[in-house]
Symmetry: C2
DNA sequence: TTTCACATTTCAAACGTTTGAAATAATTGA
DNA sequence: TCAATTATTTCAAACGTTTGAAATGTGAAA
């Protein structure tokens, strides 16, 4: 209702109080050289007039923004949302805001987002790169002007000279496989994701290392890949279970949505053994409790922790608690959750 | 690797090019009074030196930030995430960034977030209020300095003098009930959420209006409420199905998680009729396809559209395409999805 | 009364832009 | 050649802060 009244600035307060702008500023910032009574007067007036310091001005002066940029593929993916959940809280608790930008797994959009954040003079960047990111020039820009960058959740295709925080997907898959072995399984299948995703291989390595450490022979018949598409998943499963002489008794899947497709398919074939296949997937979806044939366990990836570690590391870099060239690699362990 | 070189500013460019700062600024902003050749020289130099305009400076000068603040309870709630999905894309496409702040449904945190965003001089605020928000002073601050506010997703406890964008939960529940009636049901139960949530009543009204419009008598035996807690849900269901002479044949539930609890419970009791109860809930969860006893339909709330309408309205307010006192109420219709 | 020390306040520049007004340079016409 | 246009560039102030240096005021010691 009230019309756009003149903005309450330091100058405005100063005029009201008949003192200089710098006195007002120092009083509000509690400088020891300012008289106590003056401070009180200023602070009261500031409160009464609802003075709100202008962050743009402060940012300009201090050459920083107290904003962290976050670029990620997609907020509909619950994994990423969960990383943000942890990240946002930690940032806020430390006086930082975050600006989130979705790339939709599109390189062009990712570059645009990066440029936008660069203009905004974010104090740091946290990025989960798109599937198609091979060239990192748009990210390097930040480091070139001294703005630290943390890669997270997705592993860049080069290995050195960057800070990164990733889920320990190797360990997760190793433990899941070990769990199945401990339950007596020897014919364990691995259903991977797209081959171009590095996690597909990391998880495969976890799987195969667990087999090896238990002297279980590896058979390539027990390994298949899917691009997440439902039909594709089903044909992968058909391959894994093709040889009726040699059927897997357990399955580790790249993630739960494809595992659920697999389970559904296996149940649709009324084969007496297929119902008994014990399955584990990455994810730990909350709705598992409502499934009639739930996986025996889930690999909980702790995405909140991935997000939190990313922001923690970034803030340390921003505050020079870690040298920017002292490249860090943080692995967040998975946890096997038995249902 | 490169050390924090001197920042590339207009002044820096101007010195390199031996011309004034204002010429450089105008050249970059394509002023018609600037010579074409000069423009070319400036633009090339800017590109070579990777000049990035400092947004803090521009914001300060233009007295705006091109940032939209969003306050919402919780990013783990998929509904809110989906609103952000639509909202973020629309904002970015229009040159705005969004800063998201979670209140955790805590009033104190909501107030803190509001103050932080106020300091950041966001150009507008979109807020889904916490459960406990009764007093709106922290939000009114924005409007007092001329910053438009859109309430969304959650209905404020007052009704007038605000802009809001809400899911048309009445219509959704009406259609669901009508759908069940059309399938021949006459004993339809309604399982509501907490009574202090306004949507509980809106949905109830949709339910009861559908009954009335079809001349179906209403029985309070067929209405129960839950606070979302699982035990609470089960006891509500027990009440609804207590009278074995008069058992509902269909159920409309406040949202799917509680509906799934309800279905699970009904199935656990091996009553011959309980399996046939036809259920509908708000949500349209992607995992329904994996349930053995899926709801017959879901009420899709289109949260992306709620988010998108909120940002659209806000941008219109920011750009003075709508008078700030011309309070808008946008209802986003639900869609019944039959499984 | 001077002088000095200290407390307190103010000055002035800086952060990086934008922009209307003023200044200068180039071009045209007579 | 000179004034009058027109094209182009520069000046200078402003946006709202922060902060070291300078200025002012006060009281006490000499």
């Amino acid at each position: 209702m009230m019309k756009q009244n003149t903005p309450v600035t330091l100058k405005f307060l100063a005029e009201k109080l008949k003192m200089s702008v710098s006195t007002v500023s120092k009083a509000l910032n509690n400088y020891p050289t300012i008289n106590e009574y003056t401070k009180k007067r200023v602070q009261e007036m500031a409160k009464d007039l609802r003075f709100t310091p202008n962050k743009s001005a402060i940012n300009l002066k201090e050459r920083k923004s107290r904003i962290i940029g976050v670029i990620l593929p997609n907020l509909l993916d619950h994994y990423f949302t969960r990383t943000i959940y942890g990240l946002e809280q930690f940032a806020t608790a430390n006086g930082y805001n975050i600006i989130i930008s979705q790339s939709q797994d599109d390189l062009e959009k990712e570059i645009q987002s990066a440029n936008m954040l660069l203009r905004s003079r974010v104090d740091g960047l946290i990025i989960a790169i798109s599937k198609h990111t091979q060239d990192y020039a748009h990210v390097d820009q930040f480091e070139n002007i001294g703005t630290p960058v943390v890669y997270y959740a997705r592993n860049p295709s080069f290995n050195l000279n960057c800070h990164k925080v990733l889920g320990n997907t190797f360990q997760g898959c190793y433990e899941a496989t070990q769990f199945l072995i401990d339950r007596g399984h020897r014919k364990i299948a691995y259903l991977g994701g797209p081959k171009m995703i590095s996690f597909t291989h990391d998880r495969f390595n976890g799987y195969i290392n667990a087999l090896r450490d238990n002297d279980i022979p590896f058979s390539s018949d027990f390994v298949a890949y899917t691009d997440f598409d439902q039909e594709n998943t089903i044909s992968a499963i058909q391959n894994l279970f093709a040889d009726s002489e040699n059927v897997p008794t357990a399955l580790v899947a790249f993630k739960e949505p494809i595992l659920f497709d697999a389970i559904k398919y296996l149940r649709s074939i009324k084969h007496p053994n297929f119902d008994k296949v014990e399955c584990i997937g990455f994810g730990n979806n909350a709705f598992i409790t409502y499934l009639d044939a739930p996986p025996i366990a889930s690999i909980e990836e702790n995405p909140e922790s991935v997000g939190e570690n990313a922001i923690k590391l970034l803030l340390q870099l921003i505050n020079d608690q870690i040298e920017i060239q002292d490249y860090q690699k943080v692995m967040v362990d998975c946890k096997l959750v038995v249902h």
